[in-house]
């Protein structure tokens, strides 16, 4: 099949799966998950074919796969939409296809396919377990199947469609369409267990927070279309004329060029979607959704989409940069670096295994954004890819841990939170596969030297920051990396090492193959994905493998970015922070007894409280935005405007109308109209009553009457006619 046709077809199977499941197969759990996983497999296959065809093309950045069709008439021209795969979207497609397929497969096991129906389960709530009796007549509580199993696969199918659309599209509008489809699906999936009030609150929060970014992004798209007349990537980002023109036109807003302003507007979309400060608040709450959803949102798709878009628009951000930086890039770098450190500190104090990962995701996305801000284009894309793999692995691993813990909870009947890391411990013996894969993912996240993918990508960012003289960014990111290693080791130590702290943890059980197989595959990528981007000048092993990633993805830009020269300082820094953080984490949290407090909390309780409450951002936003919004809607709009002014006016109109109506009735209708009618009627009645006496019924009297009448008229006639 022609590659272009294939690219058009990639997003379609998940969409078809969505409609098939929703319309026809939702009663059968087996058919539904087969359809969904099959669709993911088809898309994966298409993506792999496209990817491997792409990497065989020399100088792929110049000879991309693209195809478009006229869609909307826009004045004299057509607005075209189409698909394109260039180096950046090729690598994105690669990791998206893999993670999506893994997540689909994992969902089968996560939602307890093959388990009995729950005793008290109902749609909209998590399964609560089913009671079964074994051959000896003993009663056991085992995990029960998700009541809305088919619906879940339909939703993630639509989600996957959104992501594939976003990756293969060749213009910002179809990207935005895919972006918004994902926004809708994330809303539906975060609130998948909609009977939980917290899930409902989280879904609304996620939707509205990302909407803030999307509004600015739409403004940016409109602005871009207004000044260039196109939204195609190639025509804008690969076109020096357009870029120069945009860079030279001032926008009259805080001294930015048009390119910079559009770039920042679009980048605010990224801030919302990729949960950067100050719109980061929705992502931790999104943990209310089922774990595969967290992985979908936090690793493979939605948040990656934000960074992907930011990387896409990098030529705009950097347009007009003579020596490295522009104002827009400075803004991006600040947001990224600040977010990286800020959320890494919050992650230190979270006890929920998934929340730690959520903050870690925000922090790592901040890394990529900061890398972009300092011009490390390739490093940002590299970290995007490696992070997608190891973060998907970590999320799926944490889901597996929670699943194992839930098994223990059902078995022992303890009432504990299966997501709280302080209830775990010692799981390495119970869940070896989950442990080893989680360990790989965690080490990749902390940048464990040489063997993990995270090391190479993170090291490249640090090297770029140091090499180009952005010492402040470098320092911030290095500190964030130290914290990352620390909280990762804290997580691993609390969860898997030491002794079990609860009975449930003692009875945890390894999860089925549908869950562990994706973990193993993702673990392979978490290690191997780094090998494609080893810098050439790296001591000892540099140059053994060509730095393929740099050459390939760098080709997306007009000029191939220069690889930064090797410097020992960032390398040593990253070695020290990764190993030091890991060691510290292990040192502090090893052998924590059951019921013990967090050692950090004991050491610096005030700091811990601030971190635990996420710097009170939720409370701050509650005071700044949510309460005023409620006040505006309840007091101002509803009470004053609606019930006071509008209703008041209506009531006044009604009252005046009533008065006028009464007056008309009393002074016009009743006396004049009714009076006249009554008068006519009464008169006729009276007349009839008075004259009824002459109607005797006697024929002779009538004839006398007729005679006299005749005589009278004759006389009258005589006088009138003959006496004139």
């Amino acid at each position: 099949m022609a590659t272009e046709t294939l690219i058009w077809l990639i997003p379609l199977p998940p969409l078809l799966a969505f409609f098939l499941i929703v319309l026809f197969t939702n009663r059968s759990k087996w058919i539904s998950h087969t359809v969904a996983v099959g669709a993911a497999l088809l898309s994966w296959l298409g993506s792999m074919v496209v990817f491997f065809r792409a990497i065989r093309v020399e100088h792929f950045g110049e000879e991309i796969f693209a195809s478009s069709l006229s869609w909307l008439p826009a004045g004299d021209t057509w607005f075209k939409i189409g698909v394109q795969i260039d180096p950046l979207s090729a690598v994105t497609l690669f990791f998206v296809a893999w993670t999506v397929l893994m997540i689909f497969l994992y969902s089968v096991g996560y939602h307890n396919y093959g388990q009995p129906k729950g005793d008290h389960d109902r749609p909209g709530l998590q399964p609560h377990g089913a009671t079964v009796s074994d051959a000896h007549g003993h009663q056991h509580t085992v995990p029960s199947i998700e009541p809305m199993y088919s619906r879940f696969f339909a939703f993630i199918g639509l989600f996957a469609f959104g992501m594939y659309t976003l990756v293969v599209s060749d213009n910002l509008l179809t990207l935005f369409i895919g972006w918004e489809i994902m926004g809708l699906c994330s809303y539906l999936l975060i609130g998948f267990w909609y009977a939980k009030p917290s899930a409902r609150a989280a879904m609304i929060k996620a939707f509205i927070t990302t909407r803030v970014g999307d509004v600015f992004m739409l403004l940016g798209i409109a602005y871009l279309y207004a000044v260039t007349g196109t939204l195609n990537y190639r025509e804008i980002f690969y076109n020096p004329e357009v870029l120069n023109r945009l860079a030279e036109t001032p926008s009259y807003i805080v001294g930015l060029s048009t390119a910079g302003l559009i770039g920042i507007l679009l980048f605010i979309g990224t801030i919302g979607k990729s949960a950067q400060w100050p719109l980061h608040v929705w992502l931790p709450d999104a943990m209310e959704g089922p774990t595969p959803v967290s992985a979908m949102i936090h690793a493979a798709t939605m948040v990656s989409a934000g960074v992907y878009m930011a990387i896409r628009i990098f030529p705009l951000l950097s347009a007009g940069a003579e020596h490295g930086m522009t104002t827009a890039m400075g803004f991006v770098a600040f947001i990224g670096a600040f977010t990286a450190l800020f959320s890494a500190t919050i992650a230190l104090s979270q006890n929920d295994i998934k929340r730690v990962l959520a903050y870690s995701t925000i922090s790592q996305l901040g890394y990529m954004v900061a890398a972009l801000g300092i011009g490390a284009y390739v490093a940002a894309a590299f970290h995007l890819v490696t992070h997608a793999f190891f973060k998907a692995l970590l999320f799926l691993g944490s889901g597996s841990v929670i699943h194992g813990m839930e098994h223990g909870v059902y078995h022992t009947g303890e009432h504990i939170d299966p997501q709280d890391m302080f209830n775990m411990g010692g799981l390495r013996k119970k869940m070896p596969l989950t442990f080893w894969t989680f360990l790989i993912g965690g080490f990749a996240l902390s940048g464990f030297p040489l063997v993990t993918a995270g090391f190479w990508s993170k090291d490249e960012i640090l090297a770029d920051a140091f090499g180009n003289g952005h010492i402040l960014v470098f320092g911030t990111l290095a500190l964030a990396a130290l914290l990352t290693a620390f909280y990762t080791m804290r997580q691993i130590t609390l969860t898997f090492l030491g002794e079990p702290r609860t009975k449930a943890a003692e009875h945890a059980k390894e999860t089925p193959w549908t869950m562990t197989l994706p973990l193993v595959i993702l673990a392979v990528f978490s290690v191997a994905a780094g090998w494609v981007g080893i810098p050439e000048h790296f001591p000892a092993i540099g140059g053994l493998l060509p730095n393929w990633f740099h050459e390939f993805v760098g080709g997306t830009l007009l000029e191939l970015p220069e690889a930064v020269a090797f410097n020992a300082v960032p390398l040593l820094t990253s070695l020290v922070v990764a190993l030091g953080g890991l060691y510290l984490g292990w040192l502090v949290y090893r052998n924590l007894p059951a019921g013990a407090k967090d050692p950090v909390e004991e050491a610096v309780p005030s700091v811990h409280t601030v971190l635990k409450n996420k710097y009170y951002f939720d409370e701050l936003y509650d005071t700044l935005f949510v309460r005023p919004a409620y006040w505006i809607s309840e007091t101002f709009t509803s009470e004053w405007m609606d019930r006071g002014v509008i209703d008041g006016f209506l009531h006044w109109v009604a009252m005046v109308t009533g008065i006028i109506g009464n007056a008309l009735r009393n002074y016009i209708d009743k006396p004049i109209v009714n009076g006249f009618g009554d008068f006519v009627g009464e008169s006729v009645k009276k007349f009839g009553r008075n004259f009824r006496v002459i109607q005797t019924g006697r024929i002779q009297q009538y004839m006398i009457g007729a005679l006299f009448t005749l005589a009278f008229f004759s006389v009258l006639f005589y006088y009138l006619v003959y006496t004139r």
Partner: protein, 103 residues
Amino acid sequence: MMISLSYYLIFSAALFSIGLFGVLARKNAVAILMGVELMLNAVNVNLVAFWRFRTPELIAGQAFAIMVFAVAAAEVAVGLALIISIYRRRNTVVADDIDMLKL
């Protein structure tokens, strides 16, 4: 000498008046009917007299008179039938008692 037209007309008027008086004053319905006949015949006398004195060359006057006879005969037949019918139902032929027109 020939009897002049006025005598005929006076006679006719007298006959009409007698008939009219009979119609208005008699109680018996049959007598009222007879009064009607008198009035009709007074008309006939008029018609024939005017024909004889004014247009003897035409036949219209006689034709009208004949027609009045025919109509009068029919009227009497119907009228008598009605009177008999009323008599059978109400056992009276007194005109004042037959006040069904009131209802």
